[in-house]
């Protein structure tokens, strides 16, 4: 056992640091700092730079165009990205459907989809949740009926509704869980389909969330025709892909590097803000009540970090992400939420003004310090993390059942 990076790792760290410093799009950093809403091209700009460098498929095997990095290198990359406030690439293609396709897909599916996921040419969204199927995902009812077309080929006709579909407004493709057999046990009648968002019959409707963002959507399917070669893995075996994907999603969800940066940001705010009480004033970070919360947060984050490192070490020795990753999801999201709580507490009165971003030609400076603008909307928004990806209640059920054997 050794906590220190090897000479090779240190060289890699320097390479990543330099690359990000030299290539991270300046306009993206500016937009982030101002709390502006990102356009589709904004989201993709960093992705394209990394793809050109061969660094988009961080966890992908080399044979599919991935980096083939060790877990330590992946850790270093996440750390350096967070350190530079570089945005995390969207997970839907790279961390979700990509691994499903290279694990379960046909050679044709791999050839068709994987390069375009890596390059960012295809934007993917996730068609899992439905109005009646949230925590109980297997109860989903979006229906895919198989039929033979006039051309003699096999197709599915898809009808139903997905919801909470993140950034579907930009998507080229959706990977969807659909019911292909309603006569068997819920998990045994589900298939995993790749659906072109341009197919006739698909409607995307925005859902505005508490911070005023348009981040999630409803996606409606009305007689949407999908060729059978767009099904991944066997018919009625989609649940296998779904479980695989959820476990993958959970490891990324810990967000340790980003949370470390979040803690640093809290400290910076707390050094800037003044704590005034009685006849004394001091930096907020010197307030023992506040400082204690920051310290506890940092300790809990260290516990999460070393738990994740243990999990990663297990993965690189051949064990795939298992039910233990539920621990990372629960603790990771709790920490993300505590960071937003402390940020909102730190900004005091200036958490209240609602800053809606700069409209066209509106250059007036927002109210209060820059770091305060998004404190409340972010706090509201990040409540989602303990709900999505399998709610934290469901994650505890998974640990109880799969780890503790209860």
């Amino acid at each position: 056992m050794d906590l220190n990076f090897s000479a090779d790792d240190l060289a890699f760290q320097q390479e990543v640091r330099t690359f990000i410093a030299d290539h991270y799009p300046p306009h993206l950093k500016a937009k982030f700092d101002e709390g502006e809403e990102l356009s589709k091209e904004d989201f993709l700009s960093w992705h394209r730079v990394l793809a050109a460098k061969g660094w988009a498929g961080i966890a992908w095997p080399v044979e599919y165009g991935g980096t083939g990095w060790t877990s330590v290198q992946r850790y270093i990359f996440a750390e350096e990205s967070a350190r530079a406030d570089a945005m995390r690439l969207l997970p839907f293609g790279l961390n979700m459907v990509g691994p499903v396709i290279y694990t379960f897909g046909t050679p044709e599916q791999k050839a068709k989809f994987l390069p375009r996921i890596l390059s960012g040419d295809d934007w993917w969204c996730q068609g899992y949740s439905e109005p009646g199927a949230g925590s109980d995902l297997a109860s989903l009812r979006t229906k895919a009926e198989r039929f033979t077309g006039d051309d003699g080929k096999e197709y599915y006709r898809v009808n139903g509704q997905k919801t909470w579909t993140t950034l579907a407004q930009h998507a080229d493709w959706i990977f969807a869980l659909v019911r292909t057999d309603a006569t068997v046990k819920a998990q045994e009648g589900i298939s995993f389909l790749l659906i072109d968002m341009k197919t006739p019959g698909i409607t995307v409707r925005p859902i505005i969330t508490l911070g005023g963002e348009h981040e999630v959507n409803e996606v409606w399917f009305e007689d949407v025709i999908v060729p059978i070669e767009n099904r991944v893995f066997h018919e009625n075996k989609g649940w296998t892909c779904a479980k695989f994907l959820l476990a993958h999603e959970r490891t990324g969800i810990a967000g340790v590097a980003a949370s470390k940066r979040g803690v640093e940001r809290i400290k910076t705010i707390a050094r800037t803000e003044t704590d005034s009480f009685g006849d004394e004033a001091q930096p907020l970070i010197a307030n023992p009540f506040f400082k204690r919360k920051v310290a506890e947060l940092e300790i809990d984050l260290t516990a999460l970090e070393f738990t994740e490192l243990r999990t990663l070490a297990g993965e690189s020795s051949g064990k795939g992400p298992g039910p233990e990753s539920s621990l990372l999801k629960i603790k990771g999201t709790e920490i993300q939420q505590r960071i937003t709580e402390l940020a909102l507490e730190a900004v005091g009165h200036y958490g209240a003004p609602y800053f809606r971003g700069f409209g066209e030609g509106d250059n007036e400076h927002p109210i209060g310090p820059d770091y305060a603008h998004r404190a409340a909307p972010t706090y509201f928004n990040v409540r989602k993390t303990s709900i999505y990806g399998g709610s934290n209640e469901i994650q505890r059920n998974i640990i109880a059942k799969m780890v503790l054997g209860l």
């Binding site: 859902i207 004033a281 009165h349 609602y354 209060g368």
Partner: protein
Amino acid sequence: MDFNFTDEQTMLRDSVARYLADTYTFDARMAAVHGESGWNPHVWKAFAEELGILGAPFAEEHGGLGGGAIENMIVMEEIGKALVIEPYLQTVVIGGGFLKAAGGAVADAVIPKIIDGSAVIAFAYAEPQGRYNLADLRTTAKKDGAGYVLNGHKAVVYAAPWATHLIVTARTGGSVRERSGVSVFLIAADAPGITRRDYPTVDGARASEVYFENVAVGADAIIGTEGEALPLVEQVVDEAIAAVCAEAAGVTRKLHEGTLDYSRQRKQFGKSIGEFQVLQHRMVDMFMEVEQAVSMTLMATLRLGEADRGKHVSAAKNKIARGARFVGQNAVQIHGGIGISNELAIGHYFKRATMIESQFGDADFHLRRFESLMD
């Protein structure tokens, strides 16, 4: 000891509750929130004329109902339940609180206007550097002949865009944070030299940054004693905190009830999610926080007249700030995705609960104040 409302108080509560249930729907509220002015002046008119509640805590000689803090508590709890954005707190509780304490000609002149709905008051006290310290003031009021000239910047003044009058704290002497040297002024909101930047707040109200540049006021603008008004400010803010606690009791009650209803309707795994024990216990914990919020509101309200008032008010605000966070977060969690949708009421109750946490001082501030005042 008697915790029962009088018949008049019960009638007050029932009439406010009925009016709000009938007219102040969530859709009507959101239409006002998104409208140009951000509030509903005809609701204010109805408060004055139909319900008469703008006179609830004022003496009958001013045209009021002869009530006090308990009447404010009753109205504020209903305001919380309906997520009312109209400025009862700022105008009646705070504006009225200062005027009642000041008495005299200014009270005789302005209180009737509060009661008839023609005066709307905003409280300009916070400053960008001062956090929750009422004495941390850089706004100055310099003696100028018989009157004063004010200069300074007040932060996040709720209801200022709608106000006819501002109540402003400023230094007539002393250094920043000194207890001595604080004065209070009642100033026409459109007085020359006052400028505002108006904006919506995350909880559906409107507020302003208010800037004073050589604002000249007469000697009669002063409320209380020149240079020694901090105890008055503390008293009125404590009354306001008790009122905000009552609002929180109403807000968290609705968060809990809405969550309970949802847990009965929402089916997953073949049963109502309310049948899962882990959620049952969570909702029991929420219920206990709501009940304690009601209890602490009552405790603080009944002790507003006592010498150690500040300690009791801070105890209530600390407890309720923590409870509001717990109830709000878990209401969203149990609702799942729709809890973070802007289209349902539940998220808006959560947003208001969140802002109440830090209004007039967050849980940490009031814990610290309680510690400094306890035996």
